[in-house]
């Protein structure tokens, strides 16, 4: 059934007739007995099932002192749960060919499962996931080992110019706001985390009424209801959701140059951007496609790479979160060219914010984003990801149906106004790692 609706829906879109009488993807939504939000799409095409369960338990719920706690809690869930040691969980999961994954960012933490939908395999995989989500044990020996591994990885990461750039960038745009915390934590904060910290964090943040369950695949509505209960029924209710504070705007421009022996300078320029719920989401999304999100047809790549050969990769993006996620422009270039490249990127942004895109650019952007919409939802995996986002950010159930109309109605003025409201070219953070002093006069 999904196929036919997809076809029909697309026919409507190319004619730009907005008659949203048909749901593109019939998303079913309900709440479990103890408050979990469930989002479900049935698909019988393949004998498989994808499930994810997310919580507001990302790195932004940490503090400067316990940075890394959220990530460590999530990574230990599957390393011992419900009486099963980690090796036994891994063996049982592998024996049924199931794949356990996870999601972790500033806002969200969760687990995902991909399994065959044949009865025996699916039952075993789901029962393991239910155990991991609801009865993790955080074994002390495993905790110590994982801390050592994470600290090693952090120390290694801290030698890499792209990591150094991103750490400094986040620290400068977010200051003391928890979005400035590194998701993995820091070597010294991870070292001090205790089992009690993890148990407490888990208890407070992995709660039923904050859970978002996404189910996509070869099960019936009845089966999906049982699965959602099975995965969250034992979780406690929390009452009030934890809140992430507002992100203040930058008060002035700031630049940081950091020495590094790498052959290239790594450049990041940006500021706090927008919330996921911002009404300017679509104008900024489309505007950014034109500015630096559309790859080879974007202005940033055109100016930096196609015209001047300064970099392999050059881009801009907004990463909207519960609170204001970052707006970032970035590139890497041979050290002696960094000054020139930074000047090009800044000029490109300044011009874009002042003038906005051309009518032709806007039309081409809409053609790409509207015309390419079917590519966004042409696999179970992609649809599962959308269900997770719709659930977590409480987007309307018609989000996918409204997507193309929302794109089509954006005007040149909408984009100009949205950029004027959210991006101030005179108040940006610039971080250059591997800075060549001589070449950077222009950047300072």
């Amino acid at each position: 059934m999904r196929n036919r609706r997809l076809h029909l829906w697309f026919a409507l879109v190319v004619c730009v007739v907005s008659a949203p009488a048909y749901a593109l993807l019939p998303i079913q939504h309900w709440q479990t007995g103890n408050g979990a939000q469930v989002y479900f799409v049935a698909n019988r095409d393949l004998p498989m099932l994808d499930v994810s369960v997310d919580f507001p338990a990302g790195s932004a719920f940490g503090t400067r002192e316990n940075s890394g706690l959220a990530a460590l809690t999530q990574s230990l869930l599957k390393l011992g749960a419900g009486g099963l040691p980690e090796d036994e969980i891994a063996r049982r999961m592998a024996d049924v060919g199931a794949q356990l994954g996870g999601r972790f960012d500033s806002d969200r933490a969760g687990l995902s499962l991909r399994t065959l939908s044949s009865a025996e395999e699916m039952k075993e995989a789901l029962s393991l996931l239910a155990r991991i989500l609801q009865r993790p044990e955080f074994p002390p020996a495993v905790l110590e080992r994982e801390k050592a591994r994470i600290i090693g990885a952090i120390k290694e990461a801290d030698t890499k110019p792209e990591v150094i750039a991103s750490r400094n960038f986040n620290a400068l745009i977010y200051g003391n706001h928890p979005y400035g915390l590194r998701r993995s934590g820091e070597a010294d904060t991870v070292a001090h985390l205790t089992r009690e910290d993890l148990v407490d964090f888990y208890r407070r943040h992995y709660t039923a009424d904050q859970a978002v369950v996404a189910i996509m695949g070869n099960v019936s509505r009845g089966e999906a209801e049982v699965i959602a209960d099975q995965l969250t029924g034992e979780l406690p209710r929390s009452g009030a959701p934890a809140a992430i504070p507002d992100v203040p705007s930058l008060t002035r421009a700031e630049a940081r140059m950091i020495a590094h022996p790498a052959a290239q300078s790594h450049v990041l320029i940006g500021a706090p951007g927008i919330k996921r719920a911002d009404p300017d989401y679509f104008p900024l999304f489309i505007g950014n496609y034109i500015l630096g999100g559309g790859g080879f047809v974007s202005r940033v790549l055109e100016e930096v790479r196609q015209k001047r050969g300064l970099a392999y990769s050059a881009y801009s993006y907004f990463s909207p979160l519960k609170q204001r996620g970052p707006f970032v422009m970035g590139l890497q270039t041979r050290k002696d060219q960094a000054g020139e490249a930074v000047a090009v990127v800044r000029a490109t942004l300044k011009d874009f914010v002042a003038q906005g895109p051309t009518a032709d650019e806007l039309e081409k952007a809409k053609q790409n984003i509207s015309g390419g919409f079917p590519l966004r939802i042409d696999s179970n995996r992609k649809i599962l990801d959308y269900l997770g986002v719709i659930g977590f950010y409480r987007l309307p159930l018609t989000y996918l149906d409204d997507f193309v109309p929302n794109v089509e109605k954006v005007t040149l003025a909408d984009i100009r106004n949205a950029f004027a409201r959210h991006v101030d070219p005179e108040r940006l953070v610039t971080v250059i790692v591997g800075a060549d002093e001589a070449a950077l006069g222009a950047a300072k």
């Binding site: 891994a90 199931a98 065959l116 750490r167 053609q367 790409n368």
Partner: protein, 463 residues
């Protein structure tokens, strides 16, 4: 650290492309349709009607394996130039037309092949074919565009190799393990060769290899095979075939003893790569060793419960991470690779000894039936999971075909994998995990200059 045999280098960031994990030659088994044009171009179509989208991939049997010293990296440079205009489509226009059609496009070069792919709504397949056919025959490599793009490629090399300790180690590993075979050179090319490359080198490469009879078109999606074949006849049919140059085997001489190389690069932790020369699949029906080596890689590192992680990372805590991999399907010589990073307080020498103990265990005691069964379960599940992605299905068909295997052999390969016995795994371990064909590369980490805490090195400049 992870490595993949197919790892090539692409025109833009596209995630892990063609990462052929151990045992993932398991494939989607739905029926395909094949048609050969008069000029030798082969077209393979697989229907997948789940969504109104289609992926079209054009493959050329021309990878870094076909290059010579002095112009290493030219296969990849040409891939970049393929977006720089033809006699009738100006530079950059290819990307603009595909974007305006709602499409996504990209390309990659690997050791064995070069591939170009487009994902579009099914109604846009004719556009994709028209543009691909045009640049198969009418590419223009101008001096001006080449001069800019070769700079981009050098930046790509700096980004992905020069400033990446693990990439440098892998590059030196290959150049040490192989002495004559072209796999010893990196796909992106040596920097000196890039610095001295000329537009004419790219043109010469294009003239030699870009021809319908050295190419393959794979289409997967919501299409009717007959219509796709008619479209292919229309757009690709008029192209003229070329006499292709002879490909010399350049076989690697037998290795006569262990080889070691050390690479110094900025890093915090040391790491090592151990690689054993191994056979690859040539006859999917008769060969059995490559299947057994795939299963061995699966037992060592094919799933969360596999041996190396379980014993060295979780059990002995001697490693922060370990990986094992083997790819049975490639044009050049095979390699059974293991890599790892020692845990704090452990040395690469200790990790090497621990890995050798694990190999010895397999060689002395073999593997258990339950381990094999677990790996087989991964193969069965992967067959289903891969059908969720039309791009993956197209890549799989194309990569196998261009490497010299029939995609029709996929079912046979899966069956052969499932039939591998514990005794066969035992036998290939004893035969191939031997010092005489072993190469070991070690990263000797060099501290960054200045303070250990990089974040503290920053100096602020108010604007």
């Amino acid at each position: 650290m992870s490595f993949d045999f197919f790892s090539g280098t692409a025109r833009a960031r596209i995630g892990a492309l063609l990462v052929v994990l151990p045992l993932t030659i398991a494939a989607a088994v739905a029926q395909t349709h094949e048609h050969k044009l008069g000029n030798g171009l082969r077209v393979i179509v697989k229907e997948d009607h789940r969504a109104p989208t289609v992926v079209s991939m054009v493959w050329y049997k021309a990878g870094s394996i076909d290059e010579f010293n002095g112009t290493t990296g030219v296969a990849h440079v040409l891939e970049h130039m393929m977006f720089k205009g033809t006699k009738t489509v100006p530079s950059g226009e290819y990307s603009k037309l595909i974007a305006a059609a709602g499409g996504r496009e990209n390309a990659f070069t690997s050791r064995d092949m070069t591939g170009y792919h487009v994902q579009v709504h099914k109604s846009q397949l004719p556009l994709a074919f028209r543009l691909e056919a045009d640049r198969m025959a009418n590419l223009v490599v101008s001096e001006d565009e080449f001069a800019k793009e070769i700079k981009v490629v050098m930046e790509e090399r700096r980004l992905r190799t020069e400033d990446q300790a693990h990439a440098l180690v892998y590059e030196q590993f290959m150049a040490t393990a192989l002495r004559s075979h072209p796999y010893r050179a990196p796909v992106i090319g040596w920097m000196s060769d890039l610095e001295n490359m000329r537009a004419e080198d790219a043109r010469e490469w294009y003239r030699r290899w870009y021809a319908p009879n050295n190419a393959l078109v794979v289409v997967v999606g919501d299409v009717d095979p007959k219509e796709v074949f008619a479209l292919a006849e229309r757009y690709f049919g008029p192209l003229k075939p070329k006499a292709l140059p002879e490909r010399k085997p350049q076989d690697e001489p037998a290795q006569r003893g262990v080889r070691r190389v050390t690479v110094k690069a900025p890093a915090e932790l040391s790491s090592l790569i151990m690689g054993y020369r191994a056979p690859v699949l040539r006859d999917p029906e008769q060969d059995w060793e490559p299947y057994a080596l795939e299963m061995l890689a699966g037992v060592l590192d094919g799933n969360e419960a596999a041996r190396l992680n379980s014993s060295l990372v979780r059990g002995e805590k001697i490693a922060l991470s370990v990986d094992a991999g083997y790819d049975s399907t490639q044009r050049g010589p095979g390699m059974f690779l293991v890599s790892g990073t020692p845990a704090a307080g452990k040395t690469v020498a200790e990790l090497e000894q621990a890995l050798r103990r694990e190999f010895a265990k397999v060689m002395n005691e073999g593997v258990s039936e339950s381990e094999l069964k677990r790996v087989r379960a991964q193969v069965v599940a992967a067959q289903v999971f891969q059908r969720d992605s039309i791009v993956f299905q197209a890549r799989q068909i194309g990569a196998l075909e261009i490497t010299g295997y029939s995609h029709q052999a996929i079912d046979l390969m899966i069956r052969k994998l499932q039939e591998v016995t514990a005794a066969q795994v035992h036998e290939v371990a004893r035969k191939y995990l031997v010092d005489d064909s072993l190469t070991i590369a070690v990263l000797d980490p060099q501290p960054l200059p200045g303070k250990p805490d990089a974040a503290a090195q920053g100096r602020n400049h108010a604007q």
